[in-house]
Symmetry: C2
Amino acid sequence: MKSTHHCAQLTQADIGASVTLAGWVDTIRDQGGIIFIDLRDRKGVTQIKLEPLSNPGIAAAVASVKPESVIAVSGQVSARPEGTANPSLPTGAIEVEAAALEIFNISDTPPFPLDDAGGDKVNEDLRLTYRYLDLRRPKMRNNLRIRHRATKAIRDYFDAQEFIEVETPALFKSTPEGAREYLVPSRIHPGQFYALSQSPQQFKQILMVAGVERYFQIARCFRDEDLRADRQMEFTQVDVEASFIDREDVYRIFEGMLKKVWKDVLGTDIQTPFLRMPFTEAMNRFGVDKPDLRFGLELQDFSETFKSSAFKVFQSTVAKGGAVKALNAKSLADITQGEMKALEDAAKSLGAKGLAFIKVENGEWKSPIVKFFSDAEKAELTRRLDIAEGDIVFFAAAEWERACAILGRIRLDVAALLQKRGRLAIRHDDWKFLWVVDFPLMTYDEAENRYVATHHPFTAPVPEDAQYLDSDPKRVRGQHYDLVLNGMELGGGSIRIHQPALQKKVFEDVLKIPQDVVESRFGYMLKAFTYGAPPHGGIAFGLDRLVALLCGTTSIRDVIAFPKTQKGQCLMTQSPTPVTAKQLKDLHIQTVIPAAE
Amino acid sequence: MKSTHHCAQLTQADIGASVTLAGWVDTIRDQGGIIFIDLRDRKGVTQIKLEPLSNPGIAAAVASVKPESVIAVSGQVSARPEGTANPSLPTGAIEVEAAALEIFNISDTPPFPLDDAGGDKVNEDLRLTYRYLDLRRPKMRNNLRIRHRATKAIRDYFDAQEFIEVETPALFKSTPEGAREYLVPSRIHPGQFYALSQSPQQFKQILMVAGVERYFQIARCFRDEDLRADRQMEFTQVDVEASFIDREDVYRIFEGMLKKVWKDVLGTDIQTPFLRMPFTEAMNRFGVDKPDLRFGLELQDFSETFKSSAFKVFQSTVAKGGAVKALNAKSLADITQGEMKALEDAAKSLGAKGLAFIKVENGEWKSPIVKFFSDAEKAELTRRLDIAEGDIVFFAAAEWERACAILGRIRLDVAALLQKRGRLAIRHDDWKFLWVVDFPLMTYDEAENRYVATHHPFTAPVPEDAQYLDSDPKRVRGQHYDLVLNGMELGGGSIRIHQPALQKKVFEDVLKIPQDVVESRFGYMLKAFTYGAPPHGGIAFGLDRLVALLCGTTSIRDVIAFPKTQKGQCLMTQSPTPVTAKQLKDLHIQTVIPAAE
């Protein structure tokens, strides 16, 4: 029996037609001797009516049918009896009176409920073990469809803009200085290894040298880092590079892409151009380089106010070149002791010694530190932070970047506390896109006692800053941009260095990478650049995170069909596993199990 | 300087306009003090005219410009002087009179010529070392574009047919019984390994159990097999699966896909439905399961003719159940001794003891064996092989499959010899698509003394043959299909087993896979099938090979941006490489270099 229609198709217009439907038994119930089955396929649900008394052949078969079994049913479409129609279903006006039934597979009873509400409460490990059942839940099915539509929209967009998709190798060369990578032993070359590509960065720059001019790829990438909700061993990257472009071109191209994705997938018009904010401003106002602009609670700088304060902690911080920052958690004076403790712990985890505060209750400033403040200092705080009854103000005093980071974290936690109290509404679909720009090209690494590339060593300096590369490297801004959405970094990129001499200088003189390492890791790129490299730049987006935002979920595991757990395991197939001695021998390796194991 | 136009855009309509173009210097020549540059970008070429005398600023700059340098030029579009237009170029009527010049990068002299003719003669290793230059050649650029257009057409097609693309993991579970796989050591789980996925087969079947119904993916796959022109360590597969479908649906869906690909990429209408041929017929007529139908030279069976022959070699082969097959290499009696030797060697490599033949010269049958033939046998040969002056007939006598395979190989070699002589025309764009069907489900493996799956153990038997699974397994045909184009296997697939009991029976009772192996490899699939698996089937195509056919090249390395050599090396980046002791320690492995190395 082959289906003539799908399960969301039949309406009153089909009444009287002979049809065949196939799918899964969503529900089955006996109502006074008549059996009703909600038959489900990828499109929807249709009600099937079976009258065993008038059809003994069916009667025997249907007795064995349980929910989630796979069947096909043939019969006539009829109107549902008066008053039993379900207007919320496309097929709610009709039912199919089964005349024949074919059973493809009887299902055992699933280990957890397959509706969204029930499934959401289930332990994620159980969902991953039975992923084929978890994916039947409407939410998960919809996530897969959204992912498909988003990737299709991205590909259609770049194709229309004359970008071509070029596949680059997953089996790449090991570059041990970068993030931890997966190694793949070579059978043909004993003792040698490939590394799974962490990103197509180098290949895409090579494609620019090759004259491709407009490249994109939706590429699988691999990183052997510790896993979290928003990180997987393998992830998918929307990777783009173009020649003869500047930052403005990049902004325009990717704003257009996101506009199309939001329109095609959600039907939402997003406003372009996006807001832009220099890195320093983002840190100063939001304490983070990926600010969530859906709410205020901005940080204020009081370094100037406290530079001669009687409160020595603040005064001495400013004297040492640090910053005093504060934010007013409006109306959060009713914070509990437990919540307060959690905020303090968060601040301490970022290097704060404690979390100074002023709580305003009954017209009074309650605070262990306020006794040190002068009237002028208090007036300045009140004025700029708009301090009022019921507020609580938090302070951070430390080196500028740390002070920002501490209050940036407090800001997010405070927002969550206000949300919980119903005093702040943050909608997941209040889309606040933002380009963060003007990052420092280099950051000084105390541990390594040298400058390291803030993003990667291929980023070009802002032209007017290039003169300071030798004399004052930290003053040099990079032509880097991050795209941020609602506090998440969607992606980032840069205009690259295309002059071989400048690239070599950055590697060797500025970043102090030993010459032999430069040669073995990047020698081929430097060589390629001597054969006519165009100016170029690009960007890379995390697709998993983008889709998670579109789906309104916080875990990228919800938008990946078969994710690994945070321990890197596939619970469904039971991987990784030990392998045979012959496999290891073929690959010229042996295992060395730590004694503790 | 930013370009206003691309290099294939300006025509007579633009004369007088001020424009800026950017790209690579394709050629540069001094013609009586005036410099002409053909400036090239991804779209085409535009002629630039520089008059150093009237523009001293340019004069100094242009002196350093060499071919393949990257520049931008601003100036006015003007008509080329009378008689110097080039009608074969879109921009052939105009030139740009340079008023300003920006040099982005000067190129060293490339190590090989970048035109198609010159580049084709270059050693492939050199091309791969400088892949960024090789990819600038028009042919290679076009190959990348064809690949992009083909994948776009495939995705558009499946999207329109309501298939969704679902990504499945590259890091899968090791299944040591199959083809050799790449292993990836786990850092978190000492002594354990992932395997790089050889195909999404199991995941796509799981997606059918998950109710996705229509899945496709253009997926990277990995196989650690010895490499050849049409095989790479990593390759790209167009992978498709659908539920509630039968073989006819599969044929229709994929014929539609290929029709669209050929139309979108080449503008060619291919005829559907494709020819279908049972496996046995393909072997009998063409000696191979992927026959090239662009030419005849079919095999004929003379087992019946020689079953009581005085020529004992033939007679005894038939008596033992084998076959005597022959093909007439029309007009190839002028075969050289060297060519003859090569044919014999080819036959021997397939297990033939020699290569019996009859050569017809001057009305006479010249052959070491013809003296044993009766007049009736000779008459039968003449009649059925249409033997005439100048022909040469080749024989194979062996078990049926081997006899077919030997002459199948001779047929291809003979075709090549006839092509060389100009007596047979085989066009690469004479598209002969063919479904090969009705393969045996199982093949008896002499070495292992058991049946093995001809394709894979998930293939469903043809329903009317399933009754012979126990009593006569070799009689059971599988619901498998291969798609063949011009002698190349484009892809294959099958309707799968969806009943858990039948799948378990095939694994354990028919294929005699030990129960613990079944459990560890396929246990999760068998379990999944108990929760409502729909009938399903699908197919997988090799994208690299498909694109190679579209490009008219025989090497898939020509349609992969960064391929590995036949020794698995990337010559451009120099991979694989040794890695550091720390990397190995982190992954709980050490290398074991063979003594001989």
